[in-house]
């Protein structure tokens, strides 16, 4: 029980810390939280017939077909460098964001890896726009214990929108 509490504390603290780094736009430090073999995907969602002539809808297929974002560490690095140029107009002047991370649940552990689910609510306020952008999703993360501490090795973000109510996806989810 004590181990479980310590484990849950370590996992939650990593996710909360990560959220704060992004909201404070400390992107280089954020990138350091990911392993070198990191994978980060955000699948698109669909409305499907509940049933059709012989249609078998497998939600796992939906979540493994087409992605809003499909990055490895190299692409993640380019995105963070882009944000630091002062020329990435979609985030310059910078947006104000708040990542609300909740419902943290350690699903299972295998070896040095934890599988964790969390709920995310992202609020983005852009310029003086009267319509802040809001998007929610569930995140399935694989966290790995390394010599440098707990890191994020894989993230799949299951968004709850088919048409994103965002003009662009410019910050990590």
């Amino acid at each position: 029980m004590t181990d479980d509490i310590a484990q849950h504390h370590a996992v939650s603290q990593l996710l909360f810390h990560e959220a704060r780094l992004v909201d404070e736009r400390r992107f280089a430090e954020w990138l350091d939280l990911w392993t070198d073999d990191a994978e980060y995907v955000v699948p698109t969602r669909h409305n499907r017939l509940r049933s059709g002539d012989g249609e078998q809808w497998n939600v796992d297929d939906e979540l493994d077909a087409f992605f809003h974002l499909q990055d490895e560490k190299f692409q993640m690095l380019l995105r963070t460098l882009r944000l630091s140029t002062g020329l990435g107009w979609a985030e310059d002047p910078p947006s104000r964001t708040r990542h609300i991370v909740s419902n943290v649940e350690v699903l299972d552990r295998s070896g040095d890896e934890f599988h964790v689910h969390s709920a995310l609510l992202l609020w983005r306020s852009r310029l003086d726009d009267e319509h802040p952008e809001l998007i929610a999703g569930g995140r399935y993360d694989t966290l790995r214990s390394t010599a440098d501490g707990l890191k994020i090795a894989r993230r799949k973000v299951i968004l709850d929108a088919t048409v994103l109510p965002l003009s662009n996806l410019t910050v990590p989810l």
Partner: protein, 446 residues
């Protein structure tokens, strides 16, 4: 004695500015040459109402691609402007398109994005329609309806026509043929969608909303070579170098359709033949498997298309009014209007239908990194289109115009390419787009 404390600042206003811009329009929304365009057309709800009727209900609009619905019963739902559309393949394997709205009370008959079925049952009162749009029956048909002819009460049919696998539709059953509508744009569509005998397939789409007028993405993707080094400056700062705009041509093949592209000499620098902007943007390191595929693809394109069309590279194209294709980064997109100042972008990946799965995956991933919802190039475009739209909302802005005068007089011909051809950094295509727009919206104005 009253004192007048108000005063105007002692600056000399340029008397030419406002007057000249207004006079040049001469009471119209678009000047005769298309080089001056009233800002009003990007935010006025009354003009948008006209566009709905005179453009979105009359033009041939993109509906889908045959690859999305290969089997009988396959369907996708989409839009013609703001009208919901059901695009299906019936039991006989024919393409069908109908208004996705029950002929009884208008409920959206199919609320799925895609699937396979031959029966669409309206959730409101249970009217049932086939994949051919015909009414198959409804509760109480025999007992409650006298002299009811169910053949008259199918879903509203939309006229459809295809070119190179692309399915277009129109509500105007008197419209000219799709071939006439596209004109010489077909030459350039061949180079993208008919580049091998197997053709292309659509994957996706990404869908997102932007608070922008639908014409701004169309106008940009007609071949706005001019914006690349500035709008996407962050990328060039990270990757080094700059976009070689001097290698581009802008081509206006027919009416409001336009494109920009590179047209390297046969056997020219191989890097120009690769997909995307990898040669300039610091993108993923060169991939031997993809390079070998692209080299082989070029050989197959020469065989299938001939040596001229095979050399057309990096095309950014808009088919009037709101279909755009960025062939170099493997994407096709449609900006569905959602009122005067909002749009819903649907952006698909396009890949060779017969490419190995690993190549398809690499091409899609490259597109996803550069364009689409989170694309590092697309992000900055959305910011521009939104802010351009926002700044046209006021009555003050309606006194002003947008300037499309770049490259006036640089239009010419090219021995190998149909249409009016100019250097890449030109706005001849935008001028042609707004002349076409004006022809459809203000033909009756003096």
């Amino acid at each position: 004695m009253t004192s007048d404390s108000s005063s105007e600042p002692h600056v000399t206003l340029n008397p030419r500015t406002t007057a000249r811009r207004q006079q040049a329009l001469d009471g119209r929304l678009v000047s005769a040459e298309g080089d001056l365009v009233s800002r009003r057309i990007f935010s006025d709800p009354e003009i948008y109402t006209q566009e709905r009727e005179q453009i979105f209900a009359r033009c041939w609009l993109f509906l889908g691609h045959e690859s999305q619905i290969p089997e009988p019963g396959d369907f996708v739902t989409t839009f013609l402007g703001e009208d919901p559309v059901l695009l299906s393949r019936d039991r006989a394997g024919r393409l069908q398109a109908h208004l996705n709205s029950c002929s009884h009370r208008g409920m959206r008959v199919c609320r799925a994005d895609m699937g396979n079925t031959h029966v669409f049952t309206c959730p409101y009162h249970g009217w049932k329609f086939g994949s051919d749009g015909r009414l198959q029956g409804q509760p109480g048909q025999k007992t409650n309806y006298a002299n009811f002819d169910k053949d008259e009460w199918g879903l509203l049919p939309i006229r459809i026509s295809t070119y190179a696998g692309l399915v277009f539709g129109t509500f105007d059953h008197d419209a000219e043929s799709l071939e006439n509508y596209l004109g010489d744009a077909r030459f350039y569509l061949d180079a993208i969608f008919d580049r091998t005998p197997a053709g292309m397939e659509l994957v996706g789409p990404h869908k997102w909303r932007a608070r922008a007028n639908w014409k701004l993405p169309a106008d940009n993707q007609l071949g706005d070579v001019y914006h690349i080094n500035v709008s996407h400056g962050a990328l060039f700062k990270v990757g080094g170098g700059r976009y070689p705009s001097e290698l581009d041509y802008q081509v206006n093949p027919h009416r409001g359709h336009g494109l920009a592209m590179r047209f390297p000499d046969a056997g020219a620098e191989r890097r120009l033949l690769e997909p995307g902007h990898t040669e300039i943007d610091g993108g993923p390191p060169e991939d031997p498997e993809l390079t070998a595929y692209m080299d082989d693809l070029y050989r197959r394109m020469v065989e299938h298309l001939g040596p001229v069309k095979a050399r057309i590279k990096g095309t950014a194209m808009t088919v009037f009014p709101n279909l755009s294709i960025l062939a170099g980064v493997q994407t096709l997109r449609i900006a569905h209007p959602r009122g005067a100042t909002d749009l819903e972008m649907w952006s698909y990946a396009i890949v060779d239908a017969d490419a190995p799965p690993s190549i398809k995956q690499k091409l899609i991933q490259r597109y996803t990194f550069q364009f689409g919802t989170a694309g590092i190039l697309e992000q900055d475009d959305a910011e521009n289109w939104q802010e351009c739209t926002r700044s046209t909302r006021g009555a003050g802005a309606w006194q002003d115009v947008f300037n499309y005068q770049m490259g006036m007089g640089s239009e010419g011909v090219h021995a190998e390419l149909p249409g009016s051809v100019s250097p890449g950094e030109s706005e001849q295509n935008q001028r042609a787009f707004y002349r076409e727009w004006s022809h459809r919206i203000e033909a009756d104005r003096p």
